[in-house]
């Protein structure tokens, strides 16, 4: 077993453990930390696949921002024991496992068909972040999507503050 396989198995264990904690844990805060494990594992997969920029973005935005937002949201809502519908989990797991098996079969069958080469070109070097920055601001590539995303973030910033204000007291 070589190093790459070992790294993959390690990261896969962390990710699956984190997502299962999210699914099964009795306490909401434990679930949030399980989600953090899963997101860090996905960032590890990005590093393994050579997308360093995305891994850093994932850690900064998700672990640094979104999870703190979740913790605040949990703190501002009642200390609710997170109820699970265990029967429903068992009931839904069977079709989920069946669908997963089918999709694994499909993935194995189409592999090598859609992909041009059996061997990959060498991993991208330091130019990738360069290219990402240029493609964000190139009007022939992703400039429109980039500007739309910034407008969306502005709207979300204002809209979330507007929605979350204490309106119910004023109406009474």
């Amino acid at each position: 077993m070589d190093t790459l396989t070992l790294m993959f198995l390690l990261i896969a264990t962390i990710t699956i453990a984190g997502s299962l904690i999210t699914l099964w844990s009795k306490y909401v805060v434990h679930s949030v930390f399980g989600l953090m494990l899963a997101l860090l594992g996905v960032a590890g997969f990005y590093v393994l696949l050579g997308a360093d920029f995305l891994a850093v973005t994932q850690i900064v935005v998700y672990v640094g921002g979104v999870l703190v937002l979740y913790l605040f949201g949990i703190m501002l809502t009642p200390p609710d024991r997170a109820e699970r519908n265990v029967k429903l989990i068992v009931f839904c797991s069977l079709p989920a496992v069946a669908g997963a098996m089918y999709l694994i079969g499909s993935a194995r069958a189409m592999e090598g068909k859609w992909l041009p080469g059996k061997e990959l070109p060498p991993p991208p070097g330091k130019h990738l972040i360069h290219q990402v920055g240029h493609s964000f601001l190139d009007k022939d590539q992703y400039l429109l999507a980039f500007e739309l995303a910034s407008v969306l973030l502005l709207v979300v910033l204002v809209g979330a503050v507007y929605i979350a204000r204490r309106r119910w007291e004023a109406s009474e």
Binding site: T3, L4, T5, F8, A12, T15, S19, T22, S31, A38, V42, F45, Y46, L49, G50, A51, F53, L54, Q58, Y62, L69, Y70, F72, G73, T77, D80, A82, R84, N85, L88, C92, A96, A100, L103, I104, S106, A107, R108, A109, E111, G112, L115, G117, K118, E119, L120, P123, L128, Q131, A149, L152, L153, V156, G159, A160, V161, I163, A164, R167, W168
Partner: protein, 130 residues
Amino acid sequence: MIALTTLLAPFTMPLTPIATLQEIPGTTLPLTWFLIMSLVLFTVGVLTVITRRNTVYILMGVELMLNAASLNFIAFSRYRGEAALLDGTVISTFIIVLAAAEAAVGLAIILNIFGLFGSIRPEDPNLMRE
């Protein structure tokens, strides 16, 4: 109508040589492993969404599903070469932006629902039913 043979095709067709990720000479990592990981994440996300009785969990399940989709984008683009990896990175960045926006608005709505109904269970806000 989909014929049964079409549905069974993934299992019956002979396996083509597996595309491999070669970072260091002598080491390989098949694409299927990443697809299976993303499949596991997506399945756990769906189960979280449909089995929990707390609205915060629904948002957390959606985060897991978005991460699975993003991992799929990156895996496919990595196995198609450097130019494709650029596109995959950009698209996944937009997915992260959308997920952050969704979490912010979703939690704001949950806070509002808690203020109005005193509960964050998804079945409690039922004003339109009465």
